[in-house]
Assembly symmetry: C2
Homo-oligomer: 238 residues x 2
DNA sequence: TCGGATAGGCGCCCA
DNA sequence: TGGGCGCTTATCCGA
C-alpha cells in the first residue's frame, strides 16, 4: 500500500477502503485490543474511521470524525496511527489485501416515518386512540414539564401524561412515565395525574410496574409500523 | 457490475464492497427513503448489509444478518432486492463506480477494559472507594433483586445498593437505582436501604433527583478511563 | 456546548 | 427465543 497516496487521498476528502490483516489497539473512552484478523477499514471524508469484521452490523473498532492519521513503518510492518482530542488507535498491518480511494458526493438525508414522534403526532391528531373524550393540550412539551410525548385532559378534566414507545415498552419506559407524572404533579400542585403508556406491547415486568403504579396501557403501534406484515392491525391514514 | 459473480461471492461467504450512486427504499421496523447519492455498500459473510455515506459513523441504511439478496434489472437500472423475515430494502443503482469481493478470516473478539462491569469489579475489590466499612456481598446480582451492580452492607449493617455508570449519570440512572432500591426493600422487607450512584459525574437533574430521594453520589471513574489524558485524576492501580 | 431522549438502535448474557 | 440492559453507543434537538 502506498502510504503517501493514501494520506493524499484523505487530504483530498476521499473515502478510503482497505482490506487487510491487522491487529488494533485502542485507548480513550475505554481500552481495547483486537488480535490479528482480516478486516475492512473505512476512512470517510470527515475522518471517521470504521473497522469491520466479516460479520456483525457494528464496527469492532472505530474513531469519530475529525481524527488525525499518520503512517509509520518499521521496515517489517506499517502502522496507522489515529488520534483525536481524547483517543488513540494504532492499526498494525500484517498484510494489505486491497485498498482503494473514492471521491463521493452525497448530500442526501434519510426521510423516515414510523418514529416515536410520528406516533405522538398520530395520537395528537386522533385522540380517540387513547380514549373517548381525551383532549390533547400539547406535544413534546420541552419547557414546563419535561419531555412529555403527549399531554392533555381526560373527559373529567384530569391531566393525562402519555408516553409513547415504538416497540416493546420495558421497565425503563415505565420509570420515565412515572418521572414525568411526578414532575407534572409537583409543578401543577395536583394530587391526581393519570399516566398512560402507549406501545405495541408491554414486557412482563413493565406490566407489573404499571399496574402497581395505577398507570394504564394502550396497545398502539407507530404509524406504518409493519403495515405490510400485520394485516390485522387497524391502520389510520395520515 | 457482474450480478451473477456477486451472488456467487455472497454464496461463498465472501464480503462484498460496492461503491455506487444509488437510491434506497426501506420498509420494516419503519419506512424510509434515501435519494440519489454516492455510497459505500458492504455485504458481509453473515449477510449483513451496510450502506455508508461519505461521512458519519453509523450506516444510513442497513439490513441485519441473514438477509436474502436478489438482483434484477429493467434494462436501464439494476436493483438489489434485500429481504428478511420482517423487512424489505431496495437499492436502485444509477452507476456502480467500483466493486470487489474478499474472503476474510477473522475469529477474534475485542478484549476491552473500562466498562461498567470493570467499575463494579473495582468497587467490589476496593470497597473503600464507596466508604469506610462498606462490605460488598455480591456483584451483578441477576436473580433475586434484579441487575444490581454492587450490593452490600455499610458499617451499620444497613443494606447498600450501588449503581455504576461509566460516564455522566443522567435521570435514567437515578430511576434505575431507585427501582433497584425499592425492589430490595420489598424483597427483603426492609424500610431502610441506601442507594449510591457511582459515576465520574452527575447531570444537574440527576443530582436534584438523587438529593430528593436521599440517595448519595460517589465521583468514581471506570478503571483506566482517560488515564492517559487526565493527569489530575487520581488513579488507582489494579 | 451541554443536557435530555430516541434509535429501523446493536450486542451480550441469562432464563 | 425473549427480557433486561450496557454501549468507546451515535444522532438529533433545544437551551
Amino acid at each position: 500500500m502506498d502510504m503517501s497516496s493514501l494520506m493524499k487521498a484523505l487530504d483530498l476528502g476521499n473515502t478510503v477502503l482497505i482490506c487487510a490483516n491487522c491487529s488494533i489497539s485502542y485507548s480513550g473512552r475505554a481500552e481495547s485490543f483486537l488480535a490479528d484478523g482480516d478486516r475492512i477499514i473505512m476512512i470517510k471524508s470527515d475522518r471517521t474511521l470504521l473497522v469491520h469484521q466479516p460479520s456483525g452490523s457494528t464496527p469492532i473498532n472505530y474513531m469519530r470524525d475529525g481524527t488525525a492519521f499518520r503512517f509509520s513503518s518499521d521496515g517489517c510492518r506499517s502502522v496507522l496511527h489515529c488520534s483525536n482530542a481524547k483517543e488513540f488507535m494504532n492499526i498494525v498491518f500484517n498484510r494489505v489485501h486491497f485498498h482503494s480511494f473514492h471521491e463521493l458526493f452525497d448530500g442526501q438525508k434519510l426521510q423516515i416515518t414510523g418514529s416515536e414522534r410520528d406516533m405522538s403526532l398520530m395520537i395528537y391528531n386522533t385522540p380517540g386512540l387513547i380514549e373517548e373524550g381525551f383532549r390533547p393540550l400539547s406535544m413534546e412539551e420541552h419547557t414546563k414539564f419535561g419531555f412529555i410525548d403527549v399531554f392533555g385532559f381526560d373527559r373529567n378534566n384530569v391531566l393525562v401524561v402519555v408516553e409513547c414507545k415504538r416497540y416493546v415498552a420495558d421497565p425503563k419506559a415505565v420509570d420515565q412515565l412515572k418521572r414525568y407524572v411526578e414532575k407534572v404533579k409537583v409543578t401543577k400542585g395536583l394530587s391526581s395525574v393519570r399516566g398512560i403508556l402507549a406501545a405495541p406491547r408491554l414486557s412482563p415486568s413493565a406490566e407489573s410496574m404499571l399496574l402497581e403504579l395505577g398507570f394504564e396501557f394502550r396497545p398502539i403501534s407507530p404509524p406504518k409500523y409493519f403495515e405490510r406484515f400485520d394485516s390485522k392491525q387497524k391502520r389510520l391514514d395520515f
